[in-house]
Point group: D2
Chain length 349, copies 4
Amino acid sequence: MLFTSDNWAGVHPTIMDALNKANSGAMPAYGGDQLTKRVGDRFSELFEHECSVFFVTTGGAANSLALSQFVPPYGGIFCHEISHIQMDEVGTPEMYTGGAKLLTLAGDDGKLTVAALEQALGFYFPETTHHVKPKAVSLTQGTEAGTVYTVADVTALTNVAKQYDLKVHMDGARFSNAVAHLGCAPADITWRAGVDVLSFGATKNGALAAEAIVFFEPAQTKDFAWRHKRSGHVWSKNRFMAAQWDAFLADDLWLKLAGDANAMATRLANGLSQIDGCEVAYVTQINEIFATFPHGVAEALLGSGAQFYDWVYPGDKWQGRLKRFVTSYITTPQEVDMFLLKTKELCTE
Amino acid sequence: MLFTSDNWAGVHPTIMDALNKANSGAMPAYGGDQLTKRVGDRFSELFEHECSVFFVTTGGAANSLALSQFVPPYGGIFCHEISHIQMDEVGTPEMYTGGAKLLTLAGDDGKLTVAALEQALGFYFPETTHHVKPKAVSLTQGTEAGTVYTVADVTALTNVAKQYDLKVHMDGARFSNAVAHLGCAPADITWRAGVDVLSFGATKNGALAAEAIVFFEPAQTKDFAWRHKRSGHVWSKNRFMAAQWDAFLADDLWLKLAGDANAMATRLANGLSQIDGCEVAYVTQINEIFATFPHGVAEALLGSGAQFYDWVYPGDKWQGRLKRFVTSYITTPQEVDMFLLKTKELCTE
Amino acid sequence: MLFTSDNWAGVHPTIMDALNKANSGAMPAYGGDQLTKRVGDRFSELFEHECSVFFVTTGGAANSLALSQFVPPYGGIFCHEISHIQMDEVGTPEMYTGGAKLLTLAGDDGKLTVAALEQALGFYFPETTHHVKPKAVSLTQGTEAGTVYTVADVTALTNVAKQYDLKVHMDGARFSNAVAHLGCAPADITWRAGVDVLSFGATKNGALAAEAIVFFEPAQTKDFAWRHKRSGHVWSKNRFMAAQWDAFLADDLWLKLAGDANAMATRLANGLSQIDGCEVAYVTQINEIFATFPHGVAEALLGSGAQFYDWVYPGDKWQGRLKRFVTSYITTPQEVDMFLLKTKELCTE
Amino acid sequence: MLFTSDNWAGVHPTIMDALNKANSGAMPAYGGDQLTKRVGDRFSELFEHECSVFFVTTGGAANSLALSQFVPPYGGIFCHEISHIQMDEVGTPEMYTGGAKLLTLAGDDGKLTVAALEQALGFYFPETTHHVKPKAVSLTQGTEAGTVYTVADVTALTNVAKQYDLKVHMDGARFSNAVAHLGCAPADITWRAGVDVLSFGATKNGALAAEAIVFFEPAQTKDFAWRHKRSGHVWSKNRFMAAQWDAFLADDLWLKLAGDANAMATRLANGLSQIDGCEVAYVTQINEIFATFPHGVAEALLGSGAQFYDWVYPGDKWQGRLKRFVTSYITTPQEVDMFLLKTKELCTE
């Protein structure tokens, strides 16, 4: 009954095999190896477009470096008020951009809205040097609230962004889960929908430590290799980074693992919503669900061996009563069902 | 009928005289002159406490450098959501701190409240490396809404801050106006009330370009001289900075000029509040007043030669209908009365 | 016998008059005034080219902000090993560029040479992400050694720079003195010779606190206004900055004052070079001269009321024996002659 | 005949086994796992002292983060002119410190000398705000020239550093090789010799991607966890970082691998020094050797399948003729001997 985080899962066996296989003899360092080259091609195939791909170890680094390419120190980045870049990255975007400002917007279900974005733009334009210069919008796909932007949602937001000459970044720490939910082509929800750069995460979905920054217009990435190297995030033995991606993207493993995790979250959400006294907070579209429980039940569940976290943020309307459950490719129907059974018992006592 | 900004006024004749007098022969550069030494003593006398004083040209530099002494790049600064450091300094605090994060709080009348501060601290403590580490609270005295914190207000906030080991910064771009309103000793509203560092502004109140960063515990300013020099804000011919302060602080000129400006704002607020259809938005305590007018009246006033600005910020409840009026030591009762007369005419047409 | 620094002189009476005259009534803030507009035109006339001009208070800020426009955080700046940006600005360039690297080059007489620049470029090109990416060359005109680059010198260096797509910055803290020495048009030694941006200093040559960043291709300065504002260097009462420049540039005052200072330095150098035991270190082309004295003489001169500084830098071949003498528009032939007389006496004792 | 870089070797089988074993079921993320705890203890045992250990992916990140703990943005870091932090990290130290300045010193064999350090300190002290404030010395152990500081060398340098209140950082990307050469306890060459923080590298010596920042005074690392997280270098699945170190440090694997690599370099150096026309440039103490060859020989060796790099730096006295050879734990005596044979043939043709 482990629902703490998808980061608690280990490395998927297929990916671990790939790491073992990559460990054969000497190979050129810093990405000069054949595996790195092959993986670059995989990305271009997957996204049906020429891509510039750069690898880093964590999602925080991926988001922040990606943004630093488009946002100067005096720039502003529109993002959701509960986005990971705003709430959970301890100023990494500020470090890599040299002090750019995150401009937070409210929005239901963890999603930015065109209305909120336009209202904010109405304040920042016409531009004045008394305010930061808006340069980017950052979307999280799937969101911190476990929801997903549709292709239409993304397109509507990027259309506004383009009118104001803003670049669009997608924080895809759980991009796999979002695509698995949408059933669309990766291209449809990224560059075809107006996204300029994607932080594509594999770590939460079965990799060891593997995040990719994917630019869809290579011309926009002039000099980015220097930003990348300067962050200290370029692996000297890059074949082991490439091997993870090679296995992750092969045979749609990424989609399968994400789909499995999503299914477990849906199973959990459906179950909880049928238990009196439990309330599921957002629509469950990826591998995260959020719920409230009758008084004492959450504590009793934790006491009985279930593992999950409180979900609190400044000004949240549940005032700390919300609990977060994250599933992953290792979550089994059995442990979901056992959790639901236990919850039902506690709620009907 | 000039109510655009106190920055539009020139240099007060007494201060201009001081500049002319300071221009006599050669003097040591970089603050080695006698005038600089004398002015240092003036600050210590005024605040009844040993002070470390550093001069800069603008309020943005003063606020940001002051904060950088206490807030590391991974730190957080609590401030009001409409504070100058958040809204009007285009990321200067982020630059000088190396990317620290401003953590905005709501509060009526432009003032931070103990309740909002404590609620936010409840989120950030116990600390975790997933969030920035709170390091400071920044108060604006007088506020951007033209209001003033009482000694009790400041003390209550600094008491909370001290419990969490946060330093307290006071943005005193209009400190003169606040003290003139309060009628207290400068010490009472600063170090005696728990303030660690004050940005004391003279420019808006009659100086040419003169802002002071005043630390009340010299031991806390070890190495600050390097931060200061590195910003490019240390005047080589510092006697001309010192001369402004010398004249500004002598014979309570600073208080007299601020009191005059305050009186004109009060006159304007009182007058407007008696005109049907006009509403004054906050209590007028310093030299800024904010008001709404019946449809078309503001435009007509601008057409008739009055000068003032819209006052808009993201999410403001007046949705752009609020106008800001700033008085200064050059504002005359005649121009206030003429404006009121004109307004009354327009409102009764 | 004051030869410490040109920063010890006060404000030239003509410039002080201009400040007094600018203090007439209210004017728009932040450069919206007529004086600022007029001064902008003056620059374009002086340089026979459309210019984008931004004002700051110190030379350190001017150099560093100018460089930050062209040099990203991962960039490198070639400069002389004793340049002001390297030795005397306590990391201001590093702050404003977000951590770019100064790549120092040796060169006689404080001047960069084509040979040294080409050798260094041979190391950095072809480029690799293991090294910073060269982005600019910074020349000091006149140099820290009191020497001047000829038009041919500058052109030769900028030709190399252009081949490698490097921008060229000129640190002109003593640009006036260099132009007075060369007798050329300001355009000849700047944009016509391939310079992209000039830090033009007035403070050392009679202003109160006035430095200008002059870009010669306005298209290259897109967004620079945000960098400028964010530094905290934009005067709200900018008319007093503009007034200094207005008077400084009118009737060639800047050239006259610089020429006077230069003449005094030449008089001093000529005199010293005729005294047995004294050696003048570099050719004296602007208002700085450097000399060594027989044992005990420098100390005796200081004891007799002369004021000047040691001139030391890491690895200097005089091992601390060099003394620096700076003249300014207030230096008189009488004090130079008195100093020479005194020196002669001491050397022949 | 592969002598390009120790980064070309794969992961040592023992370490790969450890990674596979660590992949068993779910474990707490972000270092909450038991393996991370055990590895922390291993460091304290190895260094015979309580240590604070933080893991990152690359040596550049390790060096730069370590320095950022002790060096403020206005600080200076003394280092060798060919040190990795100066030459090969594309400004990573500048980024993480917020723009501190590397103050380079010359020294034979890639080693800092007391004389050069003291001379530089004589320039920077007494301190002035016109210069950066010296805050740290960074030593590389073993050096970029393949040499090693003795315990006496390190102690002499740290004694000078302590007199000036400078912290001492040791770049130990090849610390294993240095300790294997010295045969001393790790404590003897680090904290007992006055070192405050060590960047301890495992990647070049058989790990996948594993570098540790080891502080010897935990009290000095207050808040460092925030710097660490903010860099984006904290692995969520940290057990896989810990597993590498666990295997690396167990049964002195780190020393054995380093010793093997060192022996191969010595074999190569000894062989080359006996071939007429070949010259070995520095004393070979770790796993790097540098040599010059008769005209055409290096090219012929490359043509015959040997792999190695040119070794060039600005102003190097060999003017580009030096070749670098790096051995690793996978280098065999056979390939060394084959290379020597080939070289001999070519030199005697």
